[in-house]
Amino acid sequence: MTSAVSIRGVEKRFGSLRALDQVSLEIEQGEFFALLGPNGAGKTTLISALGGLVRPDAGQLAVMGHDVAADYRLARARLGIVPQEIVFDPFFSVRETLFIQAGYFGIPRSAALTAWVDELLHKLALTVKADNNMRQLSGGMKRRVLVAQALVHRPPVIVLDEPTAGVDVELRQTLWAFVRELNQAGHTILLTTHYLEEAQQLCQRIAMLKQGRVVALERTEDLLSAFSDRVLRVKIEGSLKADLAARARPADDGWIEFVLHDLAEVEPLLASLRSTGVAVRRMEVTEPDLEEVFLHVMETH
């Protein structure tokens, strides 16, 4: 099957800065894919190159098999990008903005478009503001309009560049529920975010960029298991015997941690504690953490 997004050997320099350095990625249709990296890693430059806003010095980018330069009309018609910055046109209402954006993509005014615009407004909790001028909207609402604008032409590939920056918890949940729904309906999602727990919960695969290079590209679960472990955390009464003390690592607030390579290690560990007269007062198992993986990858590359 044709890749939803194909990025091959893409390079981009801005003066002496190498913003993208031989970046190659293939994102399959229907994937929920995360592109992570610190500020300045090249995430937005890569997304901009996909949208034709940045012209790479070398390499090829394609959306649903259409080259973003040679077949730009076909490529752009299949791509919806939610930009990182909140931008809006102060001359128009929310509804006008959406109809105009649909028109740019060649979609005629019709009952079907009106129904889709109404659905977008409803899903993004914008219905009551539909006829308000964009200037009258809060920052969070303007961001929701940007999401609606990116979806108004029903693109098979949706790129969300830090869509939840500065967005309250309720809206974040609403947005993710909607994006999940779109993903389940077959849309490919490419997400960049600094909220790593979002990427961990939502995305099937993750790429990490650092200084314009791809430094990690794995399935989320593989990345987590390769670089991060589950941890058994306990608060105890009594002192640990030498063999258990060697495995334990002290943590904040009196917690003691045991790294688990497998959940099956929990029971024998607790049995060992019991058998040596140590009473467990509190206990929790922490799951692998993408933040830990992220820091590890960034430090080692």
Binding site: L53, V87, Y104, G106, Q149, H153
Partner: protein
């Protein structure tokens, strides 16, 4: 598909100035009428610029065209620079719009505003000075070519300028001198030979002179020469504009 994209951008550009018509149409009409009142009053009794044409009558087409040129330029340039500075230029860069879509949409919206302003100036001015319209098609041709040329120049300025002060410089140091020194307020026949020669290098002169021919059937130079020069200038500016849009100059990095 391309047709709908272009039409939507044109609609949006027209709506953009129409929503603030008080500022974009009524204000320039008022300014032109004030010019007419003051100059016509101050210079009443001066020699007729053309036989049988009073100075007040002579002024009307020139002022109408000057307003059209300035507003055609203002429309495309301000729309582009505002979109670039606020960042909403993204909305037209991400969709599958071609450089031709952008060129024609910005150009025709500029022409639409220019025609609205020109018609407004003319309608108010004829209440004050009885102006004949002897060759309406000539007048219309120069109205379209002139506002098209300035609409295209506005696109160039909007692409080139990164800041509002750069845009103001383009307007004040290029557009305004070319407009004011084009024979809006006088017939170049009354100028010394050197300044007559300089005026003949200014394409705006031919636009205004040709437009005036449409009203009085008289002009400083042949309307055919004016048509040739104005059309060539429009074509040259358009080629540069389309080239810049196609290259993504200051839009796609």
């Amino acid at each position: 598909m391309a047709g709908i994209g272009f039409r939507t951008l044109l609609y949006k550009e027209v709506l953009r100035f129409w929503k603030v018509a008080f500022q974009t149409i009524a204000a320039p009409v008022l300014t032109a009428v004030l010019y007419l009142l003051i100059f016509a009053q101050a210079l009443r009794g001066t020699t007729e610029p053309f036989p049988g044409v009073s100075y007040a009558q002579f002024l009307v087409p020139g002022l109408a065209m000057m307003s059209m040129l300035q507003n055609a330029f203002a429309n495309s340039s301000s729309s582009l620079i505002q979109s670039k500075i606020t960042g909403n230029i993204l909305f037209i860069l991400l969709p599958p719009l071609s450089h031709w879509d952008l060129y024609w949409a910005y150009l025709l919206a500029s022409v639409a505003r220019a025609i609205a302003v020109g018609a407004g100036v003319f309608l108010v001015a004829v209440l004050m000075a009885d102006v004949p319209v002897r060759h309406p098609l000539w007048g219309l041709a120069f109205a379209l070519i002139g506002s098209g040329m300035l609409g295209a120049m506005g696109i160039i300025a909007g692409l080139w300028a990164d800041k509002f002060d750069q845009m103001a410089a383009f307007q004040n140091f290029i557009i305004m001198p070319l407009t004011f020194l084009s024979g809006v307020f006088y017939s170049i026949q009354g100028l010394p030979p050197v300044w007559q020669a300089v005026s003949h290098l200014n394409p705006f002169f031919y636009v205004i002179d040709g437009f005036r021919f449409g009203f009085f059937g008289q002009a400083d130079v042949s309307p055919w020469l004016s048509l040739a020069v104005a059309s060539t200038a429009f074509l040259a500016v358009s080629l540069v504009t389309v080239g810049l849009l196609k290259s993504g100059y200051k839009l796609r990095h």
